[in-house]
Amino acid sequence: MSPVVALDWTPVCPLDRLDLDRGVAALVGGVQVALFRTDGGLFAVDNLDPVGGAYVMSRGLVGSRGGVPTLASPLHKQVYDLTTGHCLDLPGVTLRRHRVRCRDGLVEVRLRQEE
């Protein structure tokens, strides 16, 4: 096994391109990432729905459950904890998370290969 390469931060879009509580998809190093801006900050997760198998998570509805920020799959409504990626409806199912930050008004993403 080669050592895990520390991936770079990739600028994606200006922050004002992200509407509050409405996701967009981005292509980062060939990986489809779903990006969200909420009251609680920025989140980046895989765009791939781990249950449905389609690249649609960016089109899900953002909200909260018991104080935790959530994302619901637009295919069959499974709800995920945006802070951990864990599915709150199906034990054992997880949405891969990526690092995201805002620098000088630009949203940047760094892929995380494994949890």
Binding site: C13, R17, D19, L20, A26, G52, L61, V62, G63, S64
Partner: protein, 670 residues
């Protein structure tokens, strides 16, 4: 009002009840002449009626006389056959419901059991049960009539049940008169005050279902608690004995209902489905709720964890307070940041109230993906587009245009069940280009998605059909154009049939119209799907104008009062009073809402705008339609196609594509 008896409704109520009723009636400006016969109707100079002469010498001016003369049994068959009749008509039968000819029986309102015709449904059912038992060799006899009734007289609730007049020897009366709330109640108890024999209620009949079910059994609570109209808590169904019949239409006892609750029925629809209680007249539905409460089943009406109120209450809050954003609503009346349940509900309510384009401002973040991309999400992440074809009527040129769009964008093409053409496999970045082509060809895209009017199907109607009696296509087109874009608690479907052969399957729709020789019959509350249901006849022989007004009100009342994802059928079933109540509200305007409902629909029709064209004309809305925010020109590489029967279909490369969605399957009841 002229009444021969000494009080109003002499059969149903006693003297004190009649006096209370008279007070109500006279407050409405109706003068009651009691205990007096009419001796003559006198004509005026033009030959029409002008006055009534009463036996006591008085005269009453009248332009119109309505004679209420009760019911008359249809006994022509018995007369023709030479069978004996009752003293006041009706086929004379004995307690076994048999006529003088042992091979002939009579049931229902035409039967005069031991000489008496009962013009009520419960005795009718009882006679049918007697005859069924006799035909099977049994020895059943007519058990006596259950003459319990609950009705409204000029808007006043009146109920009587059991021995309402206290004719049982030694019986005791407990009466309660409240001139402030203007209610009167009487309970008739056995001589030991332990058994309820009957009673009368005037003004407030809310205790009727519980009291009626308690007749012949112990009192479910102290008499005063039962009668005091304060909160009705004492009259709750929870106090009923197990053998009490809660639903007398379908002979369902409390024990049956408790067993169903113990077996897992946790709401009224579930109780209805497994016991049939409340599925006929619906008057016991409030008791079903009380029994669930008594069993400790919590029936929350909270929409979700963010709002403690139901959809209907949320609708009223938004409407009355003029709230236009989710953030204000959740800050003032909820908590948290919303979810995939409450956000689309609020988006739908705001759209119903005409709050502008679905993608404008904060509203965009509330929309389900279908409403956000104005198309139908498919399993592979692509969308389908269904151009609106009102009534299913389409010109050859437009048909060709759809074919060209499908060919040029390589879309899988299928005819739908709603007389439209579904085009599958469009990426989000292709949607505006497809709409552009459709708009140029004279189409708009359509709501094959979303909680809104879907289609109004039609048969070909009297233009071509040899049997048709009205222009069903013309009406379907008009209705679809009138109600398109109307956001509702659930999807809405409709159809129009040009004759009683019903080729458009209108009775399978939320609102279905079937032509008659002289107008239209309106049916409501039908659906296909998981639990198919035929729509019920709501109004008959309507003019087109009256029909449209009634549908306007039906839809707006549904939009205002239904629960989230409650189709019209379930909405009507859950309504206290059911279809009769709905008719009272929409036809007789019993709640005084009709002008408001009419105005709301007029606003919808006037404000309608093609949502898809509106996206094309606004760069701010249009920018959402890219696959990737940082690579607007790159199409989503995950959407790929194979070819099946000559058409593109989603490629099945990934093993975990195609996971079926598990739905509960219907079971055979044993």
């Amino acid at each position: 009002m002229v009444e021969f008896a000494p009080r109003l409704m002499p059969v149903q109520v006693d003297e004190a009840g009649g006096a209370m009723l008279r007070r109500y009636v006279e407050e409405l400006g109706v003068t009651a002449y009691l205990g007096v016969a009419t001796t003559a109707l006198r004509p005026g100079p033009d030959g029409t009626v002008a006055a009534l002469d009463l036996a006591d010498g008085r005269s009453v001016d009248a332009e119109l006389v309505v004679v209420a003369a009760g019911i008359r049994p249809r006994d022509e068959l018995a007369r023709a056959a030479g069978l004996p009749l009752g003293p006041r008509g009706g086929v004379l039968v004995d307690a076994a419901c048999r006529t003088s000819d042992e091979r002939i029986w009579a049931v229902g309102e035409c039967a005069a059991v031991d000489g008496t015709c009962h013009g009520l449904v419960a005795p009718g059912y009882a006679t049918a049960e007697v005859v069924a038992d006799r035909l099977l060799g049994g020895a059943a006899t007519f058990p006596g009539a259950d003459t319990a009734t609950k009705l409204k007289l000029l808007g006043v609730d009146v109920a009587s049940f059991g021995d309402a007049h206290g004719v049982t020897p030694g019986c005791l009366d407990v009466t309660f008169t409240d001139p402030v709330t203007r209610s009167y109640a009487k309970l008739v108890l056995s001589d030991d005050a332990r058994t309820l024999l009957g009673g009368v209620l005037v003004g407030d009949a809310s205790a009727y279902p519980t009291l009626r079910a308690s007749v012949g059994g112990p009192l479910p609570a102290p008499p005063l608690a039962l009668l005091a109209p304060a909160d009705g808590a004492g009259a709750g169904a929870g106090a009923l004995p197990a053998a009490a019949q809660v639903c007398s239409c379908n002979a369902v006892t409390r024990a049956d209902l408790d067993a169903a609750i113990a077996g897992g029925a946790t709401d009224v629809p579930a109780l209805k489905a497994c016991t049939r209680a409340g599925t006929s007249c619906g008057s016991c539905v409030p008791m079903l709720k009380q029994l669930l409460d008594a069993a400790g089943v919590r029936q929350s009406t909270a929409l979700c964890e963010h709002f403690d109120v139901s959809r209907q209450e949320l609708f009223d809050l938004i409407r009355v307070r003029g709230i236009r954003t989710f953030s204000r609503l959740v800050a003032e009346h909820g908590r948290g940041r919303g979810c995939d349940i409450c956000k689309p509900v609020v988006a739908s309510i705001l759209a119903s109230l005409g709050a502008g384009h679905v993608l404008d401002g904060e509203a965009a973040s509330l929309q389900d993906t279908n409403d956000h991309f104005l198309a139908n999400l498919q399993r592979d992440g692509s969308y389908s587009v269904v151009p609106r074809i009102p009534g299913g009527e389409i010109t050859p040129e437009k048909l060709i245009a759809i074919g060209e769009v499908a060919r040029d964008f390589r879309l899988y093409t299928k005819i739908t069940g709603g007389q439209r053409i579904d085009l599958f496999g469009a990426r989000v970045d292709q949607l505006p280009q497809i709409w552009r082509r459709l708009v140029d060809a004279g189409f708009e895209s359509g709501h094959a998605y979303g909680k809104a009017l879907r289609t109004v199907k039609s048969c070909v109607g009297d233009t071509w059909c040899r049997y048709g009696v009205q222009d069903s296509v013309g009406l379907a087109v008009a209705l679809e154009l009138r109600y398109r874009g109307l956001r509702a608690p659930h999807k809405l479907k409709s159809a129009v049939s040009g004759c009683a052969r019903e080729c458009a399957e209108a009775r399978g729709k939320d609102f279905g119209i079937i032509a008659t020789e002289t107008g239209w019959n309106l049916y409501v509350g039908g659906n296909g799907g998981f639990r198919p249901r035929h729509a019920d006849l709501f109004a008959t022989d309507l003019s087109t104008e009256a029909l449209i007004q009634l549908i306007d009100r039906f839809l707006m009342y549904y939009i205002r009062t239904a629960d989230r994802l409650q189709r019209t059928a379930a909405w009507i079933e859950a309504m206290d009073g059911g279809l009769d109540h709905l008719r009272a509200v929409l036809v007789d305007d019993s709640l005084g809402l009709c002008a408001d409902l009419d105005a709301a629909m007029a606003r919808h029709v006037a404000a309608y705008s093609d949502e898809w064209r509106d996206v094309l004309e606004d760069p701010e809305r249009l920018r959402r339609f890219t696959s990737f925010v940082n690579a607007p020109d790159v199409p989503d590489p995950s959407i790929t196609f194979a070819v099946e029967r000559g058409q593109p279909v989603p490629a099945r490369d990934a093993a975990h594509r195609r996971q079926p969605v598990v739905l509960g399957l219907p079971e055979v009841r044993r």
